[in-house]
Symmetry: C2
Subunit: 357 residues, 2 copies
Amino acid sequence: MPTEDLQRRVRALRRRLGKLHIDALILTQPADVAYLTGFAGEDSWAVVAGSAVYLLTDSRYIEQAQKECPLAKIVERKDPIAQAAGKLATKLKSARTIAVDKAISLAQYETLKKSVGTRLRGASGLVEDLRSVKDESELATIRSAAAIAAGAFQRAVLQARPGITESELAGILDLEMRRQDAKVSFETIVAFGPNASRPHHQPSQRVLRERDTILIDFGAKYNGYCCDITRSFAFGKPTAAYSRAYEVVERAQAAAIRAAKAGAELVEVDAAARNAIRESGLPVYGHGTGHGFGLEIHESPFLKEQAKGRLQAGQVITIEPGVYLPGKLGIRIEDDILITDRGCEILTGACPRRPPW
Amino acid sequence: MPTEDLQRRVRALRRRLGKLHIDALILTQPADVAYLTGFAGEDSWAVVAGSAVYLLTDSRYIEQAQKECPLAKIVERKDPIAQAAGKLATKLKSARTIAVDKAISLAQYETLKKSVGTRLRGASGLVEDLRSVKDESELATIRSAAAIAAGAFQRAVLQARPGITESELAGILDLEMRRQDAKVSFETIVAFGPNASRPHHQPSQRVLRERDTILIDFGAKYNGYCCDITRSFAFGKPTAAYSRAYEVVERAQAAAIRAAKAGAELVEVDAAARNAIRESGLPVYGHGTGHGFGLEIHESPFLKEQAKGRLQAGQVITIEPGVYLPGKLGIRIEDDILITDRGCEILTGACPRRPPW
């Protein structure tokens, strides 16, 4: 992580904290910690207080933290983490208001409260908001993740053959990402035939048959950054019903992509895709139309009905409408886009929509 | 999941709730929800109230919930989950005290509190305690997970050759587990040479060299249940320093396994391994000696210094001492054991300690 990026992020956070009269902020979520310190490990919290950033970690991670964190003061803890954070906070004598991100568990909040007392309050999503607009180094990493995913997808689907199981095809795809120095962004979904009607189907021992359909929802995680792609296609010749539904989903996705630009309301982009499905007479999907991603696979903003807010330039989001007919078929098409002032740029176009068979 | 097991678990929980004067309990953690309902999906909470168990889920999971949950009343939510749980709780008119597991986030607790008001309180680990002693169906599944892991390990390490990367070997091992209908219990760790000195090393593009050493920490997750194994070995002929440290770790592990039985204090088992390392003059590891596992990879009990409590028959735990010399070597040997009245049974003995080269 470039040191200047870390410095800029800490400065931006300090400005926000200043406006909210918060003197110190305790961060418990790995993505927030990584964003402000560069640390990629687990079980560690960050504390931002004045111009200082502390990384609270344990002996397992000291070596790694020293490598990854050019700015943070590394504090080795022996106590359970909330207790250790409490001790650190009590030393911040000049901090009158200490906030902790409300993603903290109630149990850990209570432990912290015991040390910090009335100076402690909760705060929501202050770093997640900053994280939603990506800087250049983050975009470069996300582009790499998307390129790795596209390559892995092409090599993996060529290994699909009648008799292969959903699980094995998922494993082959994951291995292809590993071979390119990436991990999975989330557990790969591979669904054959009607299994695809469950949007969160888990790969099973179901085998691929001639003239089956395949849905693959996957992402590469590269240098800490995710991407998220879904492809749906027929293994042989698709049925007329499948082809028709596929066209509807493509149309819905294109409508949302056309609507996506800086300043567009989240509900507007969501509605663009949803309306296209509704007009076709097919059932409207029950999930959101898309979501931000980055250090986490799901982060702000969220495109869904009743969402509040507008898209901003520099945000990266998925657009992923679908059609699900239980017992019959499931189709979802998902691409990642970068929001720009004039529209958006598709980041996952290199991942083919149909394999070469 | 056998219906009788679910019934027995709910009865056991209701007895505990009765003693604590809790009329209803809201569970937010996927493992707790799975334990009481059989549901294997995500983003769903369970509410136990009197003789009823509710599963609060959304449209994506209705089909799956109907298949997996023979006992629970399935409630489809449209609202965010904490809000939906609040609505459900307000309908439980006769419940004077409603508890929620303290693993809930502070943000969700506050949302819940708004609906439930003063009837709401926190409760810690009530279901996690029950989960630590496994029933027969759980043990059978864990045995299957261990068998799958052992087979996958043997097939994967045969593919280790000079030039392979840590990442690729990790991917091959994961694929071998996938081929047997399992997933990973956690992100597989493969560390070559001195990389193994970081207990939580992430597989990298570091290539395997002649006379390298290998550490692999991995587990298969089968039907929702984990196992957790670490093997450390030399790819060629080990150095004298490696062989000596290996023997120390083996001795430490054997000492802890000898000490492990129903009624043994957690600190006593932890100390057995730690003392064996200390006596050798090598540095004592900074992590715990072991932990329970099951639906989650880390669950109660935890074997560490200052741990309170005793082992119980039916618990399954890891025993995993190590020796770490930064920049030089890392060795950890980890097996899973079932605690019995007379001692323990090793569940992962089928996973060879040294590959056949």
